[in-house]
Structure formats: structure tokens, C-alpha cells
């Protein structure tokens, strides 16, 4: 059963002569345990797709369903709760709170959502996989860009969401780290049975993908995954 689906989504900004049709009848599904890659040039509608997929923007038409429930049927407060429970965002601008240590970034989630988060053992496992277990008492300012990105990934995973939406997760990383993050996202999908959706320009991530989509001028097309 699909845990996440986007059905017939259209997004139009502006009206009259200023009208811009950003997404055209977009359909998309993500299964647990798979990594889907959405690629496309700048301005193709990838970010708008991610914004709608994450429930931050209501589409002009169409629906986004998480575990069979459409976003449109939920209040703003319930959409917040759904994002916290079911969607882990890994953002290009990861902006970890500078005054929280790595450990406190997780405590903040505990304060807002006391139940259903990863257990201590599960978190240790994630931190170990990401290679940041020894950074728990560090502040973001004391970490490199790559370390901060990995903390942001762990932070996104901590509420144990069913879906991971990643926006250009390799943008701040050098080539050697891209493969590591690709493998990590793939590992997350398989090991933790998550539906991982990655929006990126970075073709080097194709090797890790199960499904590949291309976004062009607001149209989303499924492509065959051709690994290098």
C-alpha cells in the first residue's frame, strides 16, 4: 500500500496575464522502503512540488494523501501535527538552532512530541550510521557543513516519520560525501522502511535511487533508472 501519494495536482500562481501554471496534473506515489529521486532544472517546479508534498502549500487542485488521509481535509494545526509525526524534512537550508547542542535538537522534538519518537537505542544506531555519535554535546557552530547536514538528517528521522522529503541534501557536500549521503538515504529507506523522496539537481544520486522522475516545465515524468 502506498504511504504517500500525490494525485492530479495542479498549482497556479497569480491570475490573468500574470498567471503561471507551475505544476500540471502531477501524479506521484512513494512506497515504504524505496528511494525516489525527482530531478529537473531550476524553475521546473521541483520546490513547489516538495512544498505541496510536505503540506506547506495547498495545491490549486488535486490532493496529497499521507497514509490514506488527504492534507486538504486537515486543519492547519493538524497538518503541523502530521508533518511532525509523519514527514521528516531534510532541507538544503538546514538551519539548526545555533543555541541547541546536537542532543538538545532531539530534546526539542521530545518537548513537542513526547511519544512515538525513536528510542535511545534506535537514535544511537542512526547517529552511529551517520557518524555523528560523538558530536552530541557540540553546538552547530562547532560543526562542519557536512556534519550539520547529517545532524539535520538525524533530526528529521528522530520523530520516526513514515516519509522523508529531502530538498537538495547534497548541495553543501563535496563529491566524496555525495555517495555517502546517497547510500545513507537508501539505507534509511530499506533499513527503516521509509518512503524517501529526494528533490535534487545532483545526477550522482541516481546510483542510490529505486525510482527516478523528471520534472520539466511543471510536468512530472517517470524515467527508467540507469545506474552508472
Amino acid at each position: 500500500m502506498s504511504s504517500f501519494s500525490v494525485k492530479n495536482v495542479n498549482q497556479i500562481f497569480g491570475s490573468g496575464t500574470a498567471e503561471v501554471h507551475v505544476l500540471h496534473d502531477v501524479n506521484f506515489e512513494a512506497e515504504p522502503g524505496t528511494l525516489s529521486l525527482i530531478m529537473g532544472p531550476s524553475g521546473s517546479g521541483k520546490s513547489t512540488f516538495l512544498t505541496i508534498a510536505g503540506g506547506l502549500l495547498t495545491p490549486t487542485s488535486g490532493t496529497v494523501e499521507v497514509n490514506g488521509v488527504a492534507y486538504n481535509e486537515r486543519s492547519k494545526k493538524k497538518r503541523d501535527a502530521l508533518r511532525l509525526d509523519s514527514i521528516g524534512f531534510v532541507l538544503q537550508a538546514y538551519h539548526l538552532l545555533p543555541y541547541l547542542t546536537v542532543a538538545d535538537q532531539f530534546k526539542l522534538v521530545d518537548k513537542v512530541k513526547p511519544n512515538g519518537n525513536l528510542s535511545k537505542e534506535e537514535l544511537d544506531d542512526v547517529l552511529d550510521t551517520l557518524g555523528i555519535k560523538n558530536l552530541l554535546n557540540k553546538y552547530p557552530g562547532e560543526l562542519s557543513g557536512g556534519q550539520q547536514q547529517r545532524v539535520a538528517i538525524a533530526r528529521a528521522l528522530y520523530p520516526n516519520p513514515a516519509i522523508i522529503l529531502a530538498d537538495e541534501p547534497t548541495a553543501a557536500l563535496d563529491s566524496s560525501r555525495v555517495a555517502v549521503v546517497g547510500d545513507l538515504l537508501k539505507d534509511l529507506a530499506i533499513k527503516h522502511n521509509k518512503a524517501v523522496v529526494v528533490v535534487t539537481h545532483d545526477a550522482r544520486l541516481i546510483d542510490s535511487a529505486d525510482h527516478l522522475y523528471e520534472m520539466k516545465d511543471g510536468y512530472l515524468t517517470k524515467k527508467e533508472v540507469v545506474k552508472a
Partner: protein
Amino acid sequence: MFLALKEIKKEKIRSGLIVSMIVLIGYLIFILTSLALGLARQNTDAINSWGVDRITLNSSANVDMRQSFLTEKEAGKITKNEALIGETSVVANAKGHKQTSAVFIGLKSNQFVYKNIKLESGRNVKKAHELVVDTSFKLEGYKLGSKFKLNDDKTKYTIVGFTEDAKMNVAPVVYGQLQTWRDLRGITVGPITSAVVSKNAKYKNTEKGAKTYNKQTVIEKLPGYQAQTTTFIIMIAFLMVISLIIIAVLLYILTMQKLPNYAVLRAQGIPSKVLVMATVSQSVLLVVSGLIIATLLTTATAFIIPASIPMAFDIPVLSAVGGGLLAMAMIGGLIPIKSVLSVDPVSVIGG
């Protein structure tokens, strides 16, 4: 609270600077309030110590006890709830002492005001040339048994008692007999008193030439009292507004710097109320810390301030002022809330 405490702990210098600003503002407001209270009390301590509600003066005296003279007929009926008071300005002269300007209050020993005078030491006046004086005379070197003259009168008066907080119009009070007041004013016939005071809240003198006022009306007509009080109130009010602006600006800058972080948290589903509470808690914590330090500084000042400086540290009034500052901080802390509530999580999606 979690976010606020963590931020304050991490950003010690930044938080310390904000707290020190609040300490300075709070300390300044506390000291100004204490000065205002001290000066106000130096105008009114004596009147307040008498335990009176209503005061009858000559209707032509412009509500000024020193300018009022009442004849026996104008004074009207005197019951056990009323007392006669003769007031005049005097200068105390004694060899080896500086001249001291004072207010002479003449009383009758069988009336309630005389009985209400609380002695710090010595005894009450029993004879014509005896006086009970404010304890500030001690600072001038006077003791029980010391003698001095009043104005250019040749009579020597003896201090038989000291009383605390006996000030009127920022001058120490000298209590004596009502007859002594007549002597000092050179009155042989006619007026018997400056005022009739009553502890009966419904008392009213209807005699022609006399008019009865509330105690507060008489206090507010004391020369300079209202101008001085209003000046202090305006200064304190302006400082409150300045504190509001400073706190609002500082918190606004701090909050603006955090908006990108807040946008990410919002995208991740952290409710707005958590971020709003963090901002409000931060302002409360910083202001309460600042006010506690300002209170400690004010307490230390109260211990070391010379007795000659008219400052009064009234805990209920200072608590109210502290509460006012906290309220200002809350309002200041609410100004950046609009930005927190309107933070757009969409802004962090995409490059």
C-alpha cells in the same frame, strides 16, 4: 521555556548585555521612585501621622494651612473627633548649631492629634516652653534637653522628646502648645487656630468664613508638592516607555535573527505556539533576572544611603513599579510575536 533557557545559556554575553540594560533601567526607576516617595513623604509625613480625614481652614486661605486663621466662632463645635492645629514657619536658633528652618505645630494636650504623636524618645509636651521635635534635629546635634530659640523670640525652648517621620513641606516639624503658636504669631485676640482637623470622614464645618477639605486636597495644595510629584511621575512613566522600546527593539533584533531557524522548525511541524512561548519566556526571564538584580542593588543602596537624602523604600510601591516594568517587557516581547507567527516555512524550501 526550554528554548529560552537554552538560548540564554548559550548566548551568555548577549543575554548579559540585555539583562544589564534592564538592571540599569530598573535600578534608575526604583531609585527615582524611592526619591519621589521620600520627597512626597517629607511633605506629608506629619499630616499623615495625625490620623485625620478632614481639615477646616479659613475660606480665604487658598487651602494653605500657614495662611489660615480661624476664630473661635469659625472653628465651630469641637468634639472628641476634632482637634485644633496652629501652624507657622519658624527658624530654630541655638549657639553652636546651624540655623534650622522648621514648621511649628501648636496642639492642645487634651485633643487626639496630641495623643497620636508617636515618640521615638523622651516625653510629650507638658509646659509652654517645651517642644517635641523631628528626629532630623539629631543630625544637627540636638539632644533631649537641648535648648533653642524660635525666630527672633527671646524665649528658650527645651527639647523634651523626639518623634520620627515628622516632616511637613520638606521641613522638620516642631510640636508645641497651641498657645505657643499664638505667641509666635503675635496673636492676642481673634484667631485661636490655623485649622480644625477631624478624624470623622463626614465632618463638615458650615460656619461662615470656614471651609472643610479632604486631607488629600490640602496635601495637593502644599507649595511645590504637585509640581514635584507630577515631575517624578512623568519621569518614571517616560522611563517605563523607554524600557518598553529598548526591550522591544532588542527582542525584535534577536527574533529576526532566528526567523530562518524558526521557518525550518515550522516546516518540520513545530507548532507556532512553541516558538511564541520561547520568545515570551525569553523576555520574561531576561526582565525578571534584570529586575532581581536591580532590586538587590536598590536594597544595597537603601542600606548605604545617608539619612539626609530623602528616599523612601516602600516595598508595595516598588513591587508595583517592578510589576509595571514586567508588564512593559511582556508588551515589548509581544511585538516580535507577529513576525514569529507570520514566518513562512515555504521560504526554506528550494535554493
